[in-house]
Symmetry: C2
Subunit: 422 residues, 2 copies
């Protein structure tokens, strides 16, 4: 009977976390309160909490309580029930874009032209992606990242996940994949579903997945020395490196950061890139550069694949790149987000004492380490939403993005955030 | 040495088939000619041909020779080298649409409106698909196919393949999947990549995949009796039925064909549908209706998935459906393609003696059984492209589609096709 009760508590909280009713960083009810709430003994609650902690759902903070240690599944969909009581006015975790960063009228013009190509739109897109877009991408990545690849080694898809699915089917003889940490849950889950063993920081894995331009949520960039080491390691062991060059276009630091693909000569490196962040999150066009060997394998089983990206958007993007707008957009977006991050950091510096405020290397995140009142529950309750990265020594480290917050609301957003922190 | 040679011949022909240099139905060189061509003994050629036949690449036709028995991988991309010598003027295998079947101006208007929703386009699409589109689809399939499902059981994706990938990750405990035949290569390959055992016509499989509205390339529709049997079988054994209701909207026959989903009450049936064929092949929006159990499972691991369909196209399609244009489009397309198939069949009847000309149940295909001059090699050589379905007793059966051939070119197309057949 008690056993059954214990499972009930465990399942209830697990579901709450997974459905985002209990958010990352939220404090769980005390053992006494929970025992009243669930009408079970305190031991039962304690056992359930222990198991939840062992399973990675929560962690304990001595003399404070238990906190949710991971994000639920609701990072994109929030059902009515899972919505926090108070509406989130400022979402510092958002990956949405600022309307001012993008010239909608210009994009609409390109879409309009693409939608006029009646004949083209009457047929399915090529499985590999529209040939002229692959050509435009080949030129672009050669110029920007020194990635040399003919268009027939480039595969286009609706998002990095679609492309990784194709890749998994091509390299399923490699057994293990290593990720740098647990942050790219989606990628790890996909590889696991395809039967790979997922490891972390395992140099002996057959596949090594890295995001050298965005190594951590802190926005760290992989140093040149480590890049060269990784390329050498891969050449020696034959391991395949997947280089997700996520947000490389935003790097504002001046020291050169060659792509792993360029360093390796492209022999053992799959290069992944995406336009969603640069243009509009709603434009789902990503690409991957296969090695010659995998490109040959891909073409041999081409019947297995269909294109997922919208043909109209592919055609529009192709003309957009060819007319030089992508490069202009990168410059503009970079300037724009860098200025926003600096302006917001200044507002925080004025308000937060004993705190360290830094801007990440890629200029997209602000990293705050501040004294923290542990009685505060989840930040979601204060009209702002942030993730707690670390919680120790009475200080927390949080990484925020102000990309989606309009500049005219900065004062209020800073005010609210600081209030939540104090 | 001879062993090496034999492998060379085998690999050479296998590659030719896989890269579509040798097309479906093409006759291989005679054993004598091949022995001269490859400079190997006739026995070596014979052994290579035997193995190719055993591996399913070719089949032998007594007193005639060997023919390619399957399509290569080039069904979507044809490389320069794989292009037939003579340009294909009339592609009777095409799944493209006729420009006249679709009101481009109307669709452009909806896309234009969708592209005006700046705020919406600044964020990623919900992983499951835009909520209002899921609502519109729920209403639509309830009305059209009596499929009752709340929008939160509907998942949207860019093409059926993307959705099957998600499904595979949800039902990977079911071990075996059964397809009715080998025609849906893409689906079979995807399941195999996810570690499923792929069977054909195996009633004991954990998952049974069917396309009741388009059972064969002949366009046969599953009879009501078999539908009920299948539903009963699934209820008894607990097997999961995947109902790909591909082209159900085109069914012009008058007898009612209830969906398996409706017959079963939806308990063990996943319902799949797509808009590509109905609207524009370049619009990649498909949907699946999960069982309640799988929908719960899906939401619990929502973090694993991203939306693949274009957000702008989702928003446009939603308004398009709500304003009643989808129903109008179905009526129009059905009338249009039925009329085209009938008109073309008449042209063939006038020209082909001793032949049977039928229109498939779904009115999209014309089935021709005609006397066949076996000296002719692949049809691709005659400026027309068709697949040979059967080749026996000096007769062939071919299934053609005239969907993508403009009506004003029907006379010439019929002339060329009949010439190629004679």
């Amino acid at each position: 009977m008690s056993r059954f009760k214990y499972n009930e508590v465990y399942d209830y909280i697990k579901n709450e976390i997974e459905s985002n009713q209990l958010s990352y960083g939220a404090r769980l009810p005390s053992i006494r309160n929970a025992s009243e709430l669930f009408r079970v003994s305190r031991t039962t609650v304690q056992n359930a909490y222990f198991t939840l902690a062992a399973d990675g759902y929560i962690f304990s903070e001595p003399q404070s309580g238990y906190y949710v240690s991971r994000q639920g599944s609701g990072n994109t969909v929030k059902t009515e029930a899972a919505m926090p009581q108070e509406a989130i006015k400022f979402d510092f975790t958002s990956s949405s874009a600022d309307a001012e960063s993008f010239d909608f009228n210009l994009w609409r013009r390109y879409m309009k032209n693409a939608l006029r190509q009646d004949e083209r739109l009457l047929s399915y897109s090529e499985a590999q992606g529209e040939p002229e877009l692959r050509e435009a991408i080949a030129e672009y990545i050669y110029e920007k990242r020194n990635v040399a690849a003919s268009p027939d080694r480039i595969v286009i898809g609706a998002g990095v996940q679609s492309l990784l699915g194709i890749l998994c089917s091509l390299i399923n003889d490699r057994g293990t994949v290593s990720f740098p940490d647990k942050s790219f849950e989606q990628g790890a889950a996909l590889f696991a579903d395809y039967g790979f063993e997922v490891h972390y920081r395992d140099k002996d894995a057959g596949i090594i997945y890295v995001s050298p331009s965005h190594m951590t949520r802190w926005g760290e960039v992989m140093p040149n020395k480590r890049r060269r080491e990784l390329v050498r390691h891969s050449a020696q062991t034959g391991s395949l490196v997947i280089e997700d060059d996520y947000e490389s276009d935003f790097l504002y630091n001046t020291r050169p950061t060659p792509s792993l693909h360029a360093l390796s000569g492209g022999s053992n490196v799959i290069y992944l890139g995406s336009f969603s962040r640069l243009l509009l999150p709603s434009i789902r066009i990503s690409f991957m550069v296969l090695t010659q060997e995998l490109a040959d394998k891909y073409r041999k089983c081409l019947f297995k694949y269909s294109q997922t990206a919208s043909k109209a958007e592919q055609l529009a993007l192709c003309s957009f790149i060819r007319d030089g707008h992508l490069k202009a957009q990168i410059r503009k977006t970079r300037r724009f987000y860098t200025a926003k991050a600096r302006a917001f950091a200044q507002l925080l510096e004025k308000r937060l004492e004993n705190s360290s405020i830094e801007i990440s290397e890629n200029a997209l995140q602000i990293i705050i380490t501040a004294p923290f009142n542990k009685k505060a529950v989840a930040f979601e309750k204060n009209g702002v939403s942030v993730f707690i990265e670390e919680l120790k020594n009475n200080k927390i480290t949080i990484v925020i993005s102000v990309a989606s917050i309009p500049e005219k609301e900065f004062e209020e957003a800073a005010e609210r955030l600081c209030k939540a922190l104090k």
